[in-house]
Symmetry: C2
């Protein structure tokens, strides 16, 4: 079942709440790069996100080298950004802040 | 302290033992792509590798999307491949086989 893509207005409103994220040039994905103290901290972060992603059945595309994690969020079933990406991005921001998410 | 890079002979001998891995064009890294049943299996694999990487203080560069994991191994302190990459690659192969590693 297809998931609804965000309208332009919805996308702009969402991005205003996600200042750490960059809209990909094609407008179909958002990305954020995070840096941690070391690999252990980076992978601990990834583990928290992985568990949340499984719960939501919505998964990131991500690259890790040592203390750096590059995340891309998009919704293939929507052909672009959906509310699922916004929800996961907000979770990631909360984890990155060290807050309860 | 610099880590010794493999000689050409050592590298070729090592690659003969690692048929699932591809030498990068520049000869300075090896790569392998793995596919799993789903994200949970892929991330469980990554977690095992992450723990081993921490123990060895030698970390992969890797990309994950859903059930796919693309791994690159190189040793920056050696300016190319070292025995550390070979050891981690063999561990990864053993985990991928479901064997005790």
């Amino acid at each position: 079942m297809a998931i609804a893509a965000l309208t332009d207005t919805e996308r702009n409103d969402a991005l205003a709440m996600l200042p750490a994220w960059t809209l990909r040039e094609d407008g179909l994905a958002i990305g954020r790069t995070l840096r941690f103290a070391d690999f252990g901290e980076a992978f601990a972060f990834m583990t928290r996100v992985a568990i949340e992603a499984e719960k939501a059945d919505h998964h990131p595309e991500w690259f890790n080298v040592y203390n750096r994690v590059e995340i891309t969020l998009t919704t293939h079933d929507a052909g672009g950004l959906s509310q699922r990406d916004v929800t996961l991005a907000r979770f990631i921001d909360a984890v990155a802040r060290g807050a309860d998410a």
